[in-house]
Symmetry: C2
Subunit: 418 residues, 2 copies
């Protein structure tokens, strides 16, 4: 069986709204074992919507429409669908009552326009929409299933997951599903990954393995297809175990887990506290750490020491050291880390200094040179990185390397494993 996604709205053809729905739907359908064969978009035009529905019915078993269910003049999906199927529209009193209740809750009179949202093509099932006024529709017509959903993502998403996908799987006898899992690494190269696990990703057929580079991270994606969720999870667990046996703690997290959240969890587990001194990353390390709820438990303070005076005054970096080594140097990074640790009383001090660009580079200290240092009770460590990209990317990659240095220290992994 095959599915066509049909997104409806002139604003999509003008590029005024990015069609995030089609992509999100395609992912969820693929995971649910539903093949998507076509994606199409048409504007709010009766003739073109009708032609697109007829075409989709001729080449797909399921036609999934989004958009055009609103109360205004240019919302045509419901009316065109009824006309194409040759089914009359009837007012559904239950749907009307639900819409009226929504308005009553907000103490607003229901505009007359919204009545049309309660019109249902003969024989269609109503898919309730607790998050908005437009309900969805499910119509079997011959061999085909036609589905209408609202275009608002927060209304469409739960409707697809909870009501539409289960109906498609049941109606078309779909057993299989696809589950993906992402293992995230930071600070190692693609060629290291290839050396370590390349034999797996060339040999594996199910699960398959893909490697994808993001700014400052490389992700390993495992994708498994099967009929039984328990079996799929077991196969993913087995492969993840093998990959972890090769990569060990170089994997910092899984799926949606962010590096700053992982670092935060480790700090909390070890009852450590952290102070950060930033130059080239300009507050980004602190901002990312404090994006995590509860970070006040371990994040003591941050200092953005942009000027030389701030490095001296806030961090006690000696002017002589800056004069000898230059402000972008391993020794200045060490002094910043030690300084912020000492002045804050935190158990760890983390520091960055570098050239974010686009100007300010020299042959000795080029744009993208970033020094990161960590100070702890009785010792310290520092590393130099040459990072690529524009100013914001250098800041991001520098922050990433600082967080990764901290993570590796907390786990006892050497920083030179790259």
């Amino acid at each position: 069986m095959g599915t066509e996604l049909l997104t409806i709205g002139t604003e999509l053809l003008l590029g005024q709204i990015v069609d995030t729905n089609a992509n999100w739907m395609a992912q969820r359908l693929a995971e649910a074992g539903v093949d998507v064969l076509y994606k199409s978009t048409v504007g709010d035009n009766w003739g073109r919507i009708a032609a697109a529905i007829r075409l989709a019915m001729s080449r797909a078993d399921v036609v999934l429409m989004t958009g055009g269910l609103g109360p205004t003049e240019d919302d045509l999906t419901r009316e065109v669908l009824a006309a194409v199927l040759g089914r009359p529209l009837r007012l559904d009193p239950q749907v009307l009552a639900a819409i009226e209740r929504r308005f009553a809750q907000r103490r607003v009179a229901m505009p007359e326009n919204n009545r049309k949202q309660a019109m249902v093509p003969d024989g269609a099932e109503v898919l309730p929409n607790p998050r908005g006024t437009a309900p969805g529709l499910w119509v079997r017509h011959g061999e085909c299933a036609l589905v209408c959903m609202p275009g608002v993502p927060s209304e469409m998403r739960p409707m697809l997951l909870d009501q539409v996908i289960p109906r498609i799987r049941a109606n078309f006898g779909i057993q299989s599903r696809i589950v993906s899992r992402v293992l995230k690494t930071c600070g190692i190269s693609e060629s290291t990954l290839d050396q370590r696990i390349g034999d797996y990703f060339r040999a594996m057929r199910n699960p398959t393995i893909g490697v994808l580079a993001h700014v400052g991270e490389i992700h390993v994606r495992l994708t498994c297809k099967g009929d039984d969720l328990g079996e799929i999870v077991a196969m993913l667990d087995e492969l993840e175990g093998k990959i972890r046996a090769r990569l060990g703690h170089l994997i910092f997290g899984r799926d949606e887990e962010k590096l700053e959240a992982v670092v935060g969890r480790l700090l909390r587990e070890r009852k450590a506290t952290l102070a950060v001194a930033e130059s080239c990353t300009g507050g980004l390390v602190a901002s990312r750490l404090t994006d995590i709820a509860g970070s006040s438990d371990y994040f003591e303070r941050g200092v953005v020491a942009y000027s030389v005076e701030a490095k001296q005054g806030l961090l006690s970096v000696s002017p002589a050291l800056i004069g000898q080594q230059g402000v972008v140097s391993l020794d200045v990074a060490r002094a910043m880390a030690a300084g912020v640790r000492r002045m804050s009383g935190a158990s760890l001090g983390l520091a960055t200094t570098g050239i974010a660009g686009p100007s300010g580079g020299t042959p000795e200290t080029p744009v993208g040179l970033v020094c990161v240092a960590l100070a702890w009770d009785g010792g310290d460590g520092a590393r130099e990185f040459r990072l690529l990209g524009d100013r914001e990317q250098v800041k991001y990659r520098g922050a990433q390397m600082a967080l990764e240095m901290l993570r590796r220290h907390l786990l006892g992994i050497p920083m030179d494993e790259v």
Copy 2:
């Protein structure tokens, strides 16, 4: 005339890649007066690509294809197009030479696969691609123009702008174009905008006016259609002038201009220097300011005083004040702003304190309560905001309000105009 966008690639149907191309192309085409009637996506499947091309030719004058021009087995666009049009593919020696040169520059032998990228359907014009190996194609076939472009955005975008759009406009005699301009505001409500300029956006037909809310900003978009670029710009200038006469300095910037860049420019013009003390925004104000190249000229330092000790030690906020007023209070914000200004020697001190959530709120200091203060030579100002959203949104909106308070101070606009 009408255009169909046809994006080709199985990864797009699986949702593994977000189709940013179609949206970007739709915008640029709309601006160039080219109407897009349909957007479609098919996978890497010979029969379905052929059917999609035939369908597009039956309903559109221009068929703009992206993707499927690579060197691998599943890249089929070139071959399918030639078959649908009944034109033989011929090896183009100039294209082959260009591909070979690219490999030679990288000191890599050209794989045999890449030869197929030099195959050109009979009668097609080659669109050179200096950024990659796959050239584009332009074929007139009867009334229709068929265009193939690579799917890689950095290769497709200049090809569309420099080679494809001018050809479409010339071939189909398109005179008109659409130009948009965005005026950005911060810290005022949609209802204020409606009171001030609602008569314009209800009355205007060309240019039209649209109002769009983003996190922490409201944008006013002017869109003008016409045949002559000079006339369009004059019409936009006139309307922008009228809107500015009503909104004045409440408009902080235009088009791509960011609030942190505007604030940076004002600080530089006034030879002012800035130090920032952040609690709830956690370094985000500093990070945004230092995203701007050259910010070291005016940004002196930032302090993320997350702990009470940091507020006392780095900013000299008195424990008694915190005890009396609570850490989230206008007086503590004022003390933080004054403290960071005094300790840094900067001419301005900016501070934030608040509850970013999701926990930590109380009836008196609920999640989303943020106090912002600014200290200057001989005075200070402070304001309290109740901001909506999750932790990251509260941080962002709080940073936005801090930057806007600074901008208004530098321009002498009262902060209570909301």
